[in-house]
């Protein structure tokens, strides 16, 4: 099992290099990365630098989560996405949400992210894709792409007391 690095390991602050070869080694690494993701409780994403490999590979899978209240906003779910050299090419909207990280145990904080993104990436076989993502899935991708750029959610914390944007609201009796 790959070991998860924890802050303040300096490798978590490095910028990762693009993956160049879509070979068996890459696919084996993606499988091992997925195994490490599944070992974490309710972990919806993982990025290569979190296991000490400074290449632009991440996995996001929000299909297993139990959502709280329906938000009334679009929430995409593409199942498991192996993201090689991912690039977010469009952002829209802002929302505040609570995040935690495998590499930062025992702490969660509020982070502002785009509500909707357009993501271009390759998979572990080299096939390219362009996806529109919204809500929790878009947030997860932004968290993981940050890892590839050496950015932790700690770098983006806003006050836990802040409630600038209500991500999921419910008007009392108006059900």
């Amino acid at each position: 099992m790959l070991e998860i690095l924890r802050y303040p390991d300096p490798r978590l602050k490095e910028i990762s290099e693009p993956a160049l070869r879509f070979d068996d080694e890459l696919r084996a690494f993606a499988a091992a990365l997925e195994e490490a993701r599944r070992a974490g409780p309710a972990t919806v994403g993982i990025a290569a630098p979190q296991v000490g490999r400074l290449i632009r590979v991440a996995i996001v899978d929000v299909s297993g989560r139990k959502p709280g209240k329906p938000s009334g906003k679009p929430e995409t779910c593409h199942g498991r996405m192996v993201l090689v050299n991912p690039e977010i090419v469009e952002w829209d909207g802002l929302a505040i949400g609570r995040e935690g990280c495998l590499s930062v145990p025992d702490f969660t904080g509020n982070v502002i992210r785009a509500e909707q993104i357009v993501l271009e990436a390759r998979d572990e076989h080299g096939a390219s894709s362009r996806r529109e993502l919204s809500g929790f899935e878009a947030r997860a991708v932004q968290h993981e792409v940050d890892h590839l750029d050496g950015i932790l959610f700690l770098d983006r914390l806003v006050s836990r007391r802040a409630d600038l944007f209500q991500r999921k609201t419910y008007q009392g009796a108006a059900k």
Binding site: G40, T43, V44, K69, E99, R139, D163, K168, K175
Partner: protein, 177 residues
């Protein structure tokens, strides 16, 4: 050297710049270690609660922090606690209540939510508006009980139906990645 034990150190008084720095410097020089802390201004008063690990007993810790607090005209209180770190309770729901200021609003809302299974993790309230027309704003986060959000929503809907306040409930879906 005795084993350090956790104490809760509370300091309140008129706010002025430099309080946190003065007190924490005295604690650091006295060999204390800080755990979780919460500082907030309430009605122009400085308030802070700090988990402080200290080898001595409560009175020794009070003696250590006392002079810096007294110089700044602050009240200080120390009690030993059964504290521990890495025991955070992650909230899964946020409730906001606001309306014209009226007596009993906190008791009414928190009683209803407690009966509906909510364990409050943090709560903060403010009085805004104008002196003539104050409005009350309360925000709290907590963990829903076994029944989930449904009972909380029903409890809040009842409070809203009685009139005078607006309520909203939002789930906190923490993302781990």
């Amino acid at each position: 050297m005795a084993q350090a034990r956790w104490h809760m150190l509370t300091i309140i008084g008129a706010d002025r710049p430099g309080i946190v720095a003065a007190v924490t410097q005295a604690l650091f020089e006295g060999g204390c270690n800080l755990g979780e802390t919460s500082m907030i201004r309430l009605g122009g008063n400085f308030t802070i609660m700090m988990m402080v690990a200290h080898a001595g007993d409560a009175s020794a810790l009070a003696a250590l922090a006392g002079p810096s607090a007294e110089r700044l005209g602050l009240h200080l209180h120390v009690v030993p606690i059964e504290g521990q770190l890495h025991a955070a309770l992650e909230p899964d729901v946020r409730v906001t209540v606001f309306g014209a200021d009226r007596p009993g609003i906190v008791a009414q809302v928190t009683s209803a939510l407690a009966a509906a299974g909510l364990n409050i993790v943090n709560l903060e309230s403010h009085v805004g508006g104008s002196p003539e027309q104050p409005i009350y704003i309360m925000q709290l986060e907590g963990r829903a009980g076994e029944g989930g959000l449904e009972p909380l929503e029903r409890a809040l809907a009842e409070i809203k139906a009685r009139g005078g306040v607006d309520v909203r409930l939002a789930s906190i879906d923490a993302l781990y990645g």
